[in-house]
Symmetry: D2
């Protein structure tokens, strides 16, 4: 899944590039769209769970500039025992040849039981929900 964001003047900083911190919002925007449109957020909430990001590892490959049109991708690429992760790639497609990778990130999350406030093992119905969201999106 991909959301599009047009780079505006308020996204830039003193270097005239999109600020490092602003990418975190671009990534989060794509995850919200993913969670809403797949029903992921509702499905885990119905089980009494919430998603908690525990690590973000982001590579800044090329500066994004004013007026760039960015595609911010998101897909689940790993379901482990107690954590899973999103792969998120941001590309620029200005209609001039191949899209270029601006940044890519791995976003690791746990699933928290809202009653006990502890991370749960990704098994049973919860794992099924994760796997089905992962498969649908990657199909």
């Amino acid at each position: 899944m991909t959301v599009q964001i047009r780079v505006r003047g308020y996204h830039l900083d003193v270097y005239q590039h999109v600020n490092n911190g602003r990418y975190m919002e671009f990534l989060e925007e794509a995850r919200w769209e993913f969670m809403d449109s797949t029903g992921f957020a509702d499905r885990i909430a119905a089980l009494g769970y919430a998603m908690v990001v525990v690590n973000i590892n982001i590579n800044y490959r090329r500066p994004a500039l004013l007026h760039d049109l960015l595609d911010v991708g998101v897909r689940i690429d790993r379901i482990g025992n107690k954590s899973a992760s999103f792969e998120q790639v941001i590309t620029r497609d200005n209609g001039e040849g191949e899209p270029e990778v601006v940044a890519d990130a791995s976003v690791t999350f746990c699933v928290m039981d809202q009653r006990t406030e502890t991370a749960v093992v990704l098994e049973g119905e919860l794992r099924d929900v994760l796997a089905s969201v992962m498969t649908e999106e990657n199909a």
Copy 2:
């Protein structure tokens, strides 16, 4: 009361000036400091009330630039019947002559009864709290 903020690269935008939206955070930072240090937040919370901003009218006088040291002021300058207002002036003091006004704002707020979720008349004990905070700060 005044808080100091050093302008950093991530505060700027494509024009290399502090972005218009960022000033709202600078103003809010000063109001949080005001509400905490005067006890204003706690005192109205104890009465079952909360402050709600209903209008901000801000003049941008001069651009603020990288490395500028800004003084963000805040004081209550008006207590009306159902609303009151903060006067907030942002000045730059780079140690070269008189401080210059970068921006000034009037921030109007109501006080909400958290049970009824309606704005209350600023009278009685609530007005006394507002007046005492106004006087102390302006003393």
Copy 3:
């Protein structure tokens, strides 16, 4: 002209409402779209001019909440001698009856001569550009 923004978790603050400062970005997003799609930015740049916001007066009417779909409007509503203004209204349309006004703002700007860095009188070709953009958009 209108841009749509879906309210996400990162737009909210401690009150669970869209933060006051974030509205400035929503308003600016709509102005960028306006300036790009009308060619306004390019047309005044070709004349050696740039737009500078000198005042924002915003009324917060109702809190915007998570998942709200906001329409952020922008149109030029006044062309004066040395300044002009945008009217910007933010409405919420959740598909339940009439759209509600969340916030409305008047954004006053001057036009700066980039060589002299002074505000110019809005006359001649510049005024024609402003008037044509105002008329097209309000048509």
Copy 4:
């Protein structure tokens, strides 16, 4: 080196925790303070160089909450051949026992030759500057 940041209402998001993206600004604030106070920024600019962040790897350990007083640390912990890195640890010290780690990050940067816009090998005078800044700060 450490900068202190008080968590305010506008730093929080729908989860009532400091938003993931906001931490990037806290980290950047500390790096600006580091670059200014050590003279690092001026010293590499004098050589015709600029610093470019190429990777941020951040662990979110505990949620930071309203009114928390955060210490945001920064030090250079590695100087490699073509990249170096900052270690940045954010701790909360609310005066109740040991400070707790809220987040920690490794921030990898290259040094760009501003004429050629390519990353340079960290050798000679440049390496000396990095090493002296690293040593002073860790002393």
